[in-house]
Every structure is written in structure tokens, then in C-alpha cells.
């Protein structure tokens, strides 16, 4: 089992990350992944660019905690989480989550769980440059709801 957490300003390539995670392990049958992308609109306003701030140290720790929780709940072979920081523009990739497992149900559930908890627990903050000026993005109630449904 391998867990990789990276916070970086550089872009990433999902094919390379999946190849690294698979490392010719023939027990992997399923790989679920998620990419978050910067959209050109948010809350009805056009977004020119955004800056991602984070809490160094706590970020890596909190994401590793999230992955550990996922591994306690599902059969996870490997997990990769990459989150970008700094200035990003529409169409840029923000976040990548990849989970491998023997079976697809575990891979899908763990991947979505990690994303939902990353959205509500990992210390990242977005500041958008919009047509109306700069603004910090507000936390979304929908994200809290998405994380909470795993408690049921």
C-alpha cells in the first residue's frame, strides 16, 4: 500500500500518476479518479483567475488523516492526492485524487469520500479575481452536506 500526498504549484498528469501508483501491481483491478478544474464562472460571476492559499504542514497531515480514514472503511490499495496552490486560471487542474483497489466499489467510495472530506477538512482557501473584483470564496453548504452523508 502506498499513499502519496503532494501540495505543489506545478500541474500534474493523471496518466503519469496512475502509472506510478500501479507500479505493475497485478492485484489492482480498479482505479477510480477525480480531477477538479477551475471553471470560468462561480456564483454567477466570471472568474479571471484564482489564488489558492494553504496551511503548510497541516495540509499534508489533514489529507493523510483523510486517506487513513478511507483505508479504515474500504479496501484501498493505494491513494494519490495532489492539490495545487498559487495562481490558477479557468481550465487549470486544481486537484487530483486517485484510488486503486481490487474491486470498483471500494475504489469509487474511497475516492469520493476523500474528495468530500478534502473539500471540508483540508486547509485550503480560494480567492477569486472576478469582474466585480477580488473575493474569498465562501464555504458551500453543499460541501458540508456531502461530507456529512458519510457519517450516516
Amino acid at each position: 500500500m502506498s499513499v502519496t500526498v503532494r501540495v505543489q504549484s506545478e500541474d500534474f498528469d493523471i496518466s503519469k500518476e496512475i502509472a506510478f501508483l500501479r507500479r505493475d501491481n497485478p492485484r489492482i483491478g480498479a482505479i477510480a479518479s477525480f480531477i477538479g478544474v477551475v471553471r470560468d464562472m462561480n456564483e454567477g460571476d466570471s472568474v479571471a483567475e484564482m489564488t489558492l492559499e494553504h496551511y503548510p504542514g497541516m495540509t499534508e497531515k489533514s489529507v493523510e488523516d483523510i486517506i487513513t480514514q478511507a483505508c479504515d472503511r474500504w479496501q484501498v490499495m493505494d491513494a494519490v492526492v495532489i492539490h495545487r496552490i498559487g495562481t490558477l486560471k479557468p481550465l487549470d487542474q486544481i486537484v487530483l485524487v486517485v484510488v486503486s483497489s481490487a474491486h470498483r466499489g471500494d475504489a469509487f467510495a474511497a475516492c469520493e469520500f476523500i474528495m468530500d472530506f478534502l473539500k471540508t477538512r483540508a486547509p485550503f482557501w480560494k480567492k477569486e479575481q472576478t469582474g466585480k473584483g477580488a473575493r474569498w470564496v465562501d464555504a458551500r453548504a453543499a460541501d458540508d452536506a456531502a461530507a456529512e452523508r458519510w457519517q450516516r
Partner: protein, 87 residues
């Protein structure tokens, strides 16, 4: 340093307070996150406003999400920040 904590501020709070971090003397009667919050809020102005008990801020002690009753002792790293919006 023996009697201080490091306090970090992020995102909107960092901008509003005009600082990213400070070393704060830990008052002798403060042993919890709630005590740290109240000490900072007692500065008045934006501090009182942003760290009012009912405001939607979050906090961490030594890089773990913390609640009002989380213990705080000299040497700890305490952070205040808005609800997270990454991903």
C-alpha cells in the same frame, strides 16, 4: 519563548488582521482554545468582530482541527482561519 504560543492566521483572517503569524504570550489563566480566542477578541476592532464566539471561523491546535475546549499550552501552534474552500 517558554511562555508563548505561535498563532497563525490564514486567508481572509490573515488579510483582515494584517498579519500571518505572531508569538503571543500565553496568559497564566488560559489553557484552552476558547481562552486564546477570548484573549485575541479582547483586542477589540477587527479582532473582536472576526473572532466573536458566533462567527464562522475554524481553528487548529498543533495542526489538528480543534474545538473551544481543546487544551493549549506554551509552545503550541494555534491557527485561526475561515471554513476551508479548496478542492
Amino acid at each position: 519563548m517558554a511562555n508563548t504560543i505561535t498563532v497563525l492566521y490564514f486567508a481572509r483572517l490573515r488579510e483582515t488582521f494584517g498579519m500571518a503569524s505572531e508569538n503571543m504570550a500565553l496568559p497564566y489563566d488560559v489553557a484552552s482554545l476558547e481562552g486564546v480566542r477570548a484573549t485575541l477578541a479582547a483586542r477589540g476592532g477587527v479582532w473582536a468582530h472576526e473572532l466573536a464566539a458566533g462567527r464562522a471561523f475554524r481553528a487548529a491546535v498543533n495542526q489538528d482541527i480543534a474545538s473551544a475546549d481543546t487544551a493549549v499550552k506554551a509552545g503550541d501552534e494555534v491557527a485561526f482561519f475561515p471554513p476551508v474552500t479548496g478542492g
